[in-house]
């Protein structure tokens, strides 16, 4: 049984779609303590002894299993740094669901910095889902600074879905990836900021092996007085294929800086970037209004679709 209160359960639903204990391996961290942990025959979760965090070891060949490691934080003033290392064995095929929800009703900042490292074995396949969410009426900020490092061996495949839709006041997201031959990385980031929020997202992807590829795509909406930076760099150090894209909507006084970066260090590196920032097109609003939506409903529909 999980020892979580209603607010913590709500956060858990927001960040990990969990209504109760998940199937498979899991660790649920609540206010700096483990509220429940389970390993399976193929996935072992053990706490680190030197620093706060976990080691998650997935046996080679593990198929169709999942790991949930959500974090909920409801204590104002709590600041934590957590180190989680994932060792994914060769030929494994797993889903990893992380994510952090902060509910801060107090005057002090609440902060969770999760440092996740993934060591992905040959031909292994990982789907990683990370959702961030904040709530609470307190004047203290809700701060999340995730660091994600991905080391992919030959032929491995990693798909990352990073979502932050609401309530996080300040975030600095750093993602670093190194890919060996024929490894493939797909990143889909969705971000919405509002109020006075600030979000910085930095990617550094090194395509080191022949035939490696990366596709890093961000869709974001900046409302209110919020500010976002999207800084995605792909370095092609071998015959490889890299694509980065930032597609953003600005509203109110929202501001966005997009810095797509490509570095070709090999003659056969093929690298592309796209970036587009703009407000919602007037015609889009008019079209939905002619279908009977109010302007506010039309706006919501467009944003929801865009961030889907």
């Amino acid at each position: 049984m999980l020892k979580l209160d209603e607010i913590q359960m709500r956060l858990l639903r927001e960040v990990a779609d969990l209504h109760s204990v998940p199937e498979g391996a899991y660790n649920i961290r609540s206010n700096a303590h483990s509220a429940g942990r389970q390993s399976t025959a193929n996935i072992e979760i053990t706490p680190k002894t030197d620093v706060s965090g976990l080691e998650i070891r997935i046996k080679p060949g593990t198929k169709k299993e999942s790991v949930h490691i959500p974090v909920v934080l409801t204590q104002t003033g709590l600041k934590e740094v957590v180190y989680n290392d994932f060792f994914v064995g060769e030929d494994a095929d797993v889903v990893i669901v992380a994510g952090c929800g902060i509910d801060n009703c107090g005057a002090q900042d609440a902060q969770h910095d999760g440092i996740h490292r993934f060591f992905v074995g040959k031909n292994a396949k990982v789907k990683y889902v990370e959702k961030h969410y904040g709530s609470g009426e307190g004047s203290g900020k809700r701060i999340l600074n995730p660091v994600t490092e991905v080391y992919q061996e030959a032929g491995s495949y990693v798909e990352m879905e990073m979502v932050q839709i609401k309530g996080v006041d300040d975030t600095e997201r750093t993602t670093k990836a190194e890919l060996a031959e024929n490894a493939k990385l797909i990143v889909r980031e969705r971000l919405m900021t509002h109020g006075d929020q600030r979000a910085v997202s930095v990617y550094n992807v090194a395509l080191n092996g022949d035939g490696s590829s990366a596709d890093v795509v961000s869709r974001s909406v900046a409302k209110g007085n919020s500010y976002q930076t999207f800084d995605a760099k792909i370095a092609g150090n071998a015959p490889c294929h890299g694509h980065t894209e930032c597609d953003s909507i600005i509203m109110d006084n929202g501001r966005i800086l997009a810095v797509p970066g490509l570095e070709a260090n090999n003659l056969d590196a093929e690298l592309f970037h796209e970036a587009a920032i703009g407000k919602i097109a007037g015609d889009q609003l008019i079209k939905l209004m002619t279908l009977g939506l109010t302007e506010a409903e039309a706006e919501e529909q467009i944003i929801n679709g865009f961030l889907q």
């Binding site: 008019i286 939905l288 002619t290 279908l291 009977g292 529909q301 467009i302």
Partner: protein
Amino acid sequence: MLELQNISFQVADGSADKEIIRNVSLTIPDGRLAVITGPNGGGKSTLARLIAGIERPTEGRIFFRGEDVTERSITERARMGLAYAFQQPVRFKGIHVLDLLRIAAGKRIATADACEYLSAVGLCARDYIGREVNASLSGGELKRIEIATVLARNAALAVFDEPEAGIDLWSFQNLIAVFETMRAQMKDRSILIISHQERILNIADEIIVLKDGMVERQGAREDVLPALIGSSAAVHGCWKTEPKGANATC
């Protein structure tokens, strides 16, 4: 019924005002299919936008279903039963064809019902229902989806702004069939089409000729059409080629 009373519309053109629509009065009774034709630049599309509420007239009144809607918003007019098909349909990233049809229907219609609207405009529903309404669709595909959204509205008055613009011959023939079906089923509903295609004029009950922002002629098709044949108000067809795949063969 739609009634325009002495509608004028001016826009600022440098230091002077330019009059796009000049004192236009017309009535579209229930159960009628009316076509507004006339030379390019005559104000046809502007008139359609005024009816939909996208633009507001400088002078005059607009009555729809017995109510003065001149000051009503686009949304209010839509909710009163006015549908409007864009000449240049809009694209949306992340919104799917099914989403758009559900918004148009005003309720969460079943996928099978949504598919019927697509089939009616000659699209293979299975291939399109889950597609995003984005740049991956061709102009012709988008146009047919636009018309499907108007069908889903089940509106008292459906306004189509140059439905033939940007579509291929196959789609156009299908489009005529769509209008004929709508017309056969409309009873007390009405359709207003902005077009100068002869084949669309041929299915009209009434034709209104708009030139230089003014109604030059208005009346039953039999009375108005003969004089238009061969003029720019009744064009006999000029088609772009649509990429393969944009047809209903499932």
